[in-house]
Every structure is written in C-alpha cells, then in structure tokens.
Symmetry: C2
Subunit: 226 residues, 2 copies
C-alpha cells in the first residue's frame, strides 16, 4: 500500500470515528430530552444533526476522492465501499435521534402517562452497539462485530416488553392512547438504531471474512406483536 493511501485511510478512519461520536452524542441528548422532559434540548439536537449531515457529505466525498486518486483494489476497495455504506447508516441513526427528540417535545407538552417506562437498559445497549460496530469496522475485528449482533436480540426483547407495557396502559385508559403511541415510537426508533448498528456489524464480518451473514437478522417478526 502506498504511503499516501495509508495516510488517507488513516484520515478517513479518524473522520468516521468523529462522526460516530457525534451520533452517539445525538442519541444521548435525545434520550435526555425525553427522560428529563427537557424539550429545549430538541432544538440543540437539530444543530447537531445538521453537523452530522454535513459530515456525511464530507466523508462520502473523501471516499470518492480516495477511489479516484488511488484506484484501490481488493481489500482496500472493499474497505472504502464499506465505509461509504456505514457513513450512510450513521447519518440515518442521527435522523432517528432527531425523531426521538421530536417525540420528546410532544410528550413534554402533556402529563406523563401513569407508568414508569424504563428506557435506560435499551439506550445503553443501543449506544454500545453503535460504538462496537464502528470499532469493529476500523479495527477489522469480526469477534467484536459478532458480539454486536448478539446484542440486537436483547434490544428486540426490550422493545417487545415495552410494547406489552404500553398496550396494557392504552387498554386500561384510552385517554393515554396518543402518548402511549408516541412512547412506542421512541422504543421503535431505538430498535431501528440497533438494526442499523447490526447492518454495520454484518458489513464488517462480510468485509473481513467474506461470510454472508447479512439478511439473517433483519426480519422484525416480533416488533409490533404483543
């Protein structure tokens, strides 16, 4: 590998990890807005999301330049293509954080529903999945990628439990329907973030091992069931 390519790949890695931090932070702020009922944080998050969007475009341009300039083949080519896809997934995670913050604004405008919703365990796992998937990518670490995949099942189970709880609330008190559906959306957005982290981890395994484990984790058969 030429020294120039090596240096440019290092820069790309640094930029992608920086974007990962921004996305992690976006999830954090969105959940704080929700749990602490602080809708003003949602406005801040819009700025963070603009920065994430701008960063996505920069990283894509960086990848295109790398391809045009170094015309890499084999491993390097596959790595850069994977970064392009991951970059896209990270931007979508940023959007989902904004969607959560929007629900936080709605929910803060009314009384809390009469049940404690435990989002903590779900958020913790989702954030660990995002970090883990990115580390797995830049370190080309398939063991770590597979640990990320295993965590997706835990998030799905927590989402299912949240759905069961909210369903009971709605049945018992129809006045809670709107707020319960909004809370369910938050849970679903978190589950989708976990799915995107799963996509990243699957891409890493494919990139390193050539194993096709994509398309095994994607069916959400349980998501909207009791």
């Amino acid at each position: 590998m030429s020294k120039h390519l090596q240096r440019d790949l290092e820069n790309l890695k640094r930029d992608l990890l920086a974007m990962g931090s921004m996305v992690w932070d976006a999830i954090q702020r969105a959940m704080t807005a929700l749990v602490d009922r602080r809708p003003e944080l949602a406005a801040e998050l819009l700025e963070v999301d603009d920065a994430i969007d701008a960063r996505e475009v920069e990283i894509e341009e960086e990848c295109l330049k790398l391809l045009a300039l170094h015309q890499p083949v084999a491993t390097d080519l596959r790595y850069i293509i994977t970064v392009l896809k991951v970059n896209n997934d990270l931007e979508r995670i940023g959007d989902l954080a904004v969607n959560i913050a929007e629900r936080a604004v709605d929910l803060a405008s009314d009384d809390p529903i009469p049940v404690a919703l435990e989002f903590g365990g779900m958020v913790e796992r989702v954030q660990a999945m995002v970090n883990g998937a990115l580390d797995a990518l830049v370190e080309r670490d398939t063991e770590l990628a597979r640990r990320v995949l295993a965590m997706d099942d835990e998030v799905d189970a927590l989402h299912r439990a949240m759905f069961a709880t909210l369903q009971d609330v709605m049945r018992e008190d129809p006045a809670t329907v709107v707020r319960a559906v909004q809370s369910l959306s938050v849970s679903r957005h978190l589950e989708r973030i976990a799915d995107l982290a799963t996509n990243i981890a699957e891409d890493v395994v494919f990139m390193v091992d050539g194993d096709l484990i994509r398309h095994q984790h994607e069916l959400d058969g349980t998501a909207d069931r009791p």
Copy 2:
C-alpha cells in the same frame, strides 16, 4: 468511455431495474396479503425477499468489479457509487414489504377492526415513487427525481390521516388497540418505503446536478402526531 465499461454499465442498469421490479412486486404481494386477508401470501413473500437479498449481493459485487476493473473517475465513479447506495435502499424496501406481510398475518388471525382503512392511495403513490426514483437514476433525469420528492409529502399526509383514524378507533374501543397498532405499523412501513424512494431521488439530483437536497426531507416531524 471504453466499450467494455459501457457494456458493463448497461448490464448494471438492467440488473438494478430487475431488482426494482422484484421490490415493486414484493410491495404488491404484501398489500394483497393485508387487504385481501390472505396470510398464505406472506410465505411466498419470504421467498421473494430471499431472491432480493441475493440480488443485492450480486449487484454490489458487480459494482466492486466495475470499480476494480475499469477504475472509473468523475461521472462514472459517482454513478456506480450511487447505484451501490440505491441497491442498499432497494433491499431495505424489500424488508419493509416483509414487515407489512408479517402484520398481515397477525391481522388476519383476528376480526377486522370496525373501520375501513383505505391503503390504496398510499400504496399507489409509494409504488410510483419507487419506480420513478429508479427510472430517474438510470435516465439521469432530475425532473423526474424532483417529482418523486414532491410525492413524499402526499404520502406523509396520508400516513397522518391514517394515524388520526386509528387513534379514534382505539379511543372508542380499547379492545382494538393491538390491531390498530398493527395497522398503524403497516402505514408507517409504507411511509418508510416512501422515505427510501426519496433518498434515491435525492441521490439522483446530487449525482446529476451536484445540488445538495439531501437532508431536507428527512425529518418526520409529523409521523406520530395526530
């Protein structure tokens, strides 16, 4: 452009359009399973989805080969990278069709909820968006891409109306909660398919004009609101 590259790009176009047809068909089957209450169609759809997944992998490999072999720059490079991203979006649309079929299975196992849900207009627009976005890509037609973007607002409005209807049903009869939430999921899956078609159309405009209209349509501020 070399004759070889031209020929390979033609093949790529043909394969991508074939994948687009498979995805269109998947949406069609999923909605038939739902509207006609024919859960047996869901099993068929799983096979269609497997074929879509396999096709996605083939197209990605085709793109990688094209990049390694022809080392294209400028317009051709950007086109191939766009195809890579679009390919990914199409595969996700296939997943969403499966998600709809899963809800169709759940809903067919119980009585219909006591309100007629009009999915027809939404599905028609969503399918037109998928076709339009793909045609815009292969014809490099930004006018068509912009028409696809405009349709996304119509789909959002229909999703909002669906949410309002279902909310009323749940409030009036709490026994409908599970089925109403499942029906709402179908509407949301359709809205997400429209978002993915929007992503494709935005990528086309960026590819052709260099205009950055990505990230203007993405905030779903209305999705879970009355």
